[in-house]
Structure formats: C-alpha cells, structure tokens
Subunit: 194 residues, 2 copies
DNA sequence: GTCTATAATACGATAGAC
DNA sequence: GTCTATCGTATTATAGAC
C-alpha cells in the first residue's frame, strides 16, 4: 500500500518546483530562496539535499533525461518493418514531449546552454543518439537508408526531433491533425531514405 | 580615410566583450562589472550606452541577427535552377556560422532561452524564416518540393540548419571534406523534395 | 531531516566630478 | 562621454537549535 501512492518527498518537491521556475525564469533568474519557498520547504532543507544550486540543476537535468530514455525504451518496437519501427519511435518521442511540456521546454533551453557542464550534457545525450544510430545502421544494411556519414545523420535526425517538438508544442492542435503528424515523419524519413 | 578603418568605439567594445562572455559564462553568470573591465571601460560608461543589462543583451541579439541576414541577402542567387540556389543558400549560411563561431554559439544558446523577450526573438527570426518560406513556395509551384504544411517545413529546415552548424562547428575538419558538405545538403534537400 | 536566522559577498545601477 | 566611488539590495550558503 505504502508504495502505490508514493508521498511527494521534500526532495522531489524541490526538483519539481525547480523545473517550473528554471523554465519560466531561467537558472540565474531563479533564487534558491524562491525555489524553497514555493516548494514549501526551508532553504536549509534545500541545501541539505543538494550540495549547491549547480548540483540541483545537474540532478534535475539527469533525472529528466532518464525519464525520457525510460519512456522510449519501454515502448520500443522491433518488427521486420524498419520504417514502421522508426515511425513508432518518432511518434512515441514526440508524444512524450507533448505529455511533458515542461520537461521538454527545460531540455530545449538547457541542453545547449552553458549552465550545465559539457560532460553531463554528453552523458545524458548518449543513450538517445545511440538509439538513433542503431536504427540508422540497420536501415543502411537493409539498403533502406542512404549512406551518409553516421554522425551527421544522427545529428540531423536529432535536430529535426527538436524542431518538430518545438513546432507541435507551440501548435498543439496540429498534433491532432493526422496530416501534420504524417508529414512530420515523412520529412524525417525522406531526409535519410536511400 | 576616417571611415575606412572605423575605430572600435567604446560601445562596440562593450558589445564585442559581452558576446564573448555571454557565450562562455551565460547571461546571469556575467556581471556588468566584468564586461566593463574586460572591454577596458568603466561601469558608468556601460550604463551610459545601455539603459540596463537587459537592454545590452537585446541590442546584442538584434545586431547579430542583422549581421547574419545581411550576409545571406548579399550573397543570394536567383537562377532558374532552384536546387542549385538552395544549395548555395545552404552553403552560404553554414559558411557564415563557420566564419562567426561566437555569434553562432550565441544564437544557438539564446534563441531558445528565456533571457530574451519572445517578441524580440520572433522579430529577429522573421527574415530568416521568410527567406526559407519563399524558396519552398517556389519549389512547390515547380513541383520540385513536397506539399507538406509550409510552417512545418520551415521549422524542420531551420532545425536542420541549427543541427548542421552545431555539427560542423564541433568538427571543423569535416566541413573541408566535400563528402560531408554534400551529404549535409542532400539530407536537407531530400527531406523536402517531392 | 527540517527549521530560523544570518553571515559573506556580489550584483545592478546611480551620483557627481571631469 | 567617461570616469571613480558607492548605495541599496538580493544572492548563495552556513550555523546551530529542534
């Protein structure tokens, strides 16, 4: 019983509140005092759970990336139709962004910023890029995908993902339109098809 | 004679220094005192030229966007070969990023962040997106490009541009390789081709 | 683990002489 | 236009009681 509805611990409240405020006001625009107050804890409590404001930011970044990776991995498909699998991955990824707009906005803002140390950003990036990489390699072996340099294709696909989620988050009604949905995938698939 | 080699005014020194520091340390991580000191001026001078730190940031953002737009417009081609014109635009845009790595990094960081007011970001964005939009419309009329929703295509192309410049700035030697260069354009063109 | 109170400092912006 | 000096405030982080 106790684990079914896990209580929102103070630490989690701090993380949740930091996510909201960092997205709305930026990292340096948000004081630890404000985070603590809005989370309903004292500043002393915040610094008990996180060594520093930077450490709080890093943990938040990693936890969000893990949340995304878990969601994608748990919904992976592996049929004999690669294009169908890619489409499923594409829709699942964008749906996650639609379902977690704050986390997606956070990621868009901070995955390129100087606030988070490069090593942490790269580590968080690896799982995603590897998933794309595996799929591209398989497609190239099956002569379905063009033989451009792998790293360039990965980066382009990821860039298209960021652009599409930005677009559909700004225009949520368009995601309900099957034409827009299909177009977004066709643009991606054509870009790497043989 | 006096205008040929324009003296670096104090105001320009402040802008140049702010560009370097904002990219390296972030906006809130950079104090006005540090900008002034490194630019070789007094803090009073900084606030004489810019009403506030935010105002300095906004002017910097707009000046960089104008710099990019000017460079692209001045090198525009308008032949009867649309694919060739698009390729020229693509190479010119990426070359600008290679030639202006700091400005490109600045744009990557702040065009998505909350530091700069939305209205300023959108205003700065318009000229670029319109250029892409005009080209896509022409391509669709000539049956060269697919008839996906225009705004979605614009956003995707822009996302691919950001991804490619990120890639080539991180791997400058790859930009010298004609295969990578051509691949980057082929990926873009295929993504929107009919 | 959580709180209150506060230390120590860094910040944006201004005043006023030159 | 540019400078020096400084004001008032907000910030991160700690100390110590409970």
């Amino acid at each position: 019983m106790s684990k079914l509805m896990p209580k929102a611990t103070k630490k989690q409240s701090i993380l949740d509140t930091a996510l909201v405020l960092f997205v709305k006001q930026g990292f340096y625009g948000t004081s630890t005092a404000q985070i603590a107050k809005q989370a309903g804890v004292a500043t002393g409590t915040l610094f008990h759970h996180f060594q520093s404001k930077d450490e709080l930011m890093n943990q938040l970044f990693l936890s969000i990336k893990q949340d995304f990776a878990k969601s994608i991995f748990n919904n992976q498909q592996n049929s004999d139709d690669l294009k169908q699998d890619a489409k499923h991955l594409w829709y699942t990824s964008i749906q996650w962004a639609i379902d977690n707009p704050l986390k997606q906005a956070f990621f868009q803002q901070y995955s390129l910023s100087a606030v988070i140390p490069m090593e942490i950003k790269q580590h968080a990036m690896n799982s995603t890029l590897q998933l794309i990489g595996d799929l591209i390699r398989k497609g190239q072996e099956a002569k379905l995908l063009a033989k451009h340099p792998l790293t360039l294709m990965q980066e382009s696909c990821h860039g298209q993902y960021l652009a599409s989620t930005r677009y559909f988050l700004d225009n949520p009604e368009k995601w309900q339109d099957i034409n827009y949905r299909q177009s977004s995938f066709e643009i991606l698939w054509q870009s790497i098809a043989a």
